[in-house]
Symmetry: C2
Subunit: 168 residues, 2 copies
């Protein structure tokens, strides 16, 4: 049995750059609009949805908390488009990515604040939504259309991979 404990690093745009973008207003100077009654944090993520006849798909996910530490059993990727996750309730969550699902040395776990979303670039391996607190709403911007846009890899049964919300 191979046991792997993943502990999170803070999510930053720089650390996440190989995997896509961080969706946050912290680094963005807003523009005053609507006669001064609103501030616009503009253009926070790219959307890659038009490949092979695809179109933008706007959805809402309700994610359910998983037992902590979280057992990691599979990774997935979307070969035809990007996928953005934006938390709606300001609750912290976890983001797990890797270069190769079968090489655990390539796994990176990030702790996102409730005001940080992520936009996985096309073809980036990631874990489905990871929340550990309460049912949490996320807005999703990804791709719909023809073609197979989901690839999954289940981890070997001889691995026990656990994701911790904090240092274990």
């Amino acid at each position: 049995m191979t046991e792997i404990r993943l502990s999170p690093a803070p999510l930053t745009a720089q650390a996440f750059k190989p995997y896509g973008g961080v969706i946050e207003t912290a680094a963005c100077a807003p523009r005053s609009i609507n006669q001064g009654y609103a501030q616009r944090f503009n253009d926070l993520c790219g959307v890659d949805a038009a490949r092979e006849g695809g179109a933008v798909n706007v959805s809402l996910f309700t994610a359910n908390p998983r037992p902590h530490p979280i057992a990691i059993q599979l990774m997935e990727r979307h070969p035809l488009g990007s996928q953005a996750f934006i938390p709606m309730q300001e609750r912290p969550w976890l983001v797990l990515v890797c270069d190769d699902p079968l090489d655990v040395s390539t796994y990176h776990l990030f702790s996102a604040t409730g005001r940080q979303g992520v936009n996985y670039a096309c073809n980036v391996w990631h874990h489905p939504l990871l929340v550990f607190d309460a049912d949490s709403h996320f807005l999703i911007i990804d791709r719909k259309g023809p073609g197979e846009n989901l690839e999954e890899v289940w981890l070997p049964e001889a691995w026990r991979v656990e994701a911790f919300a904090n240092q274990p």
Copy 2:
């Protein structure tokens, strides 16, 4: 002086249909995904952003409350794309649309719950964000790119148009 008091009707998909779509999960049966750890309310709004070399723009607005009743002074529309507003904090808000900004008989005011967004269709006259409670975050999905995508009409100075959050 022409005085017009607008009182809201509840926002429903049917009533709003001439102007675009209502973004809500109420009428959508979710699909279980992520090994049962999430529910997906899929494809909640169309995105019309590709005209004339445009692309999708994902932004966050912070809307500031206006004094109540709200003085209506201008209407706007976007001739090159749709514009979706999704509330992030479950606070009620107001949606004002019209067929002709200079014909007040065509104005329709809707009260949206904090779990309802709207997607203005391309070229639909609407008022900028209307909140009356506290600073409120909205996620916006609209268009960026070449061309002039904003048209504004200021109402005649001889009009006093007021929008009420409830029956006045």
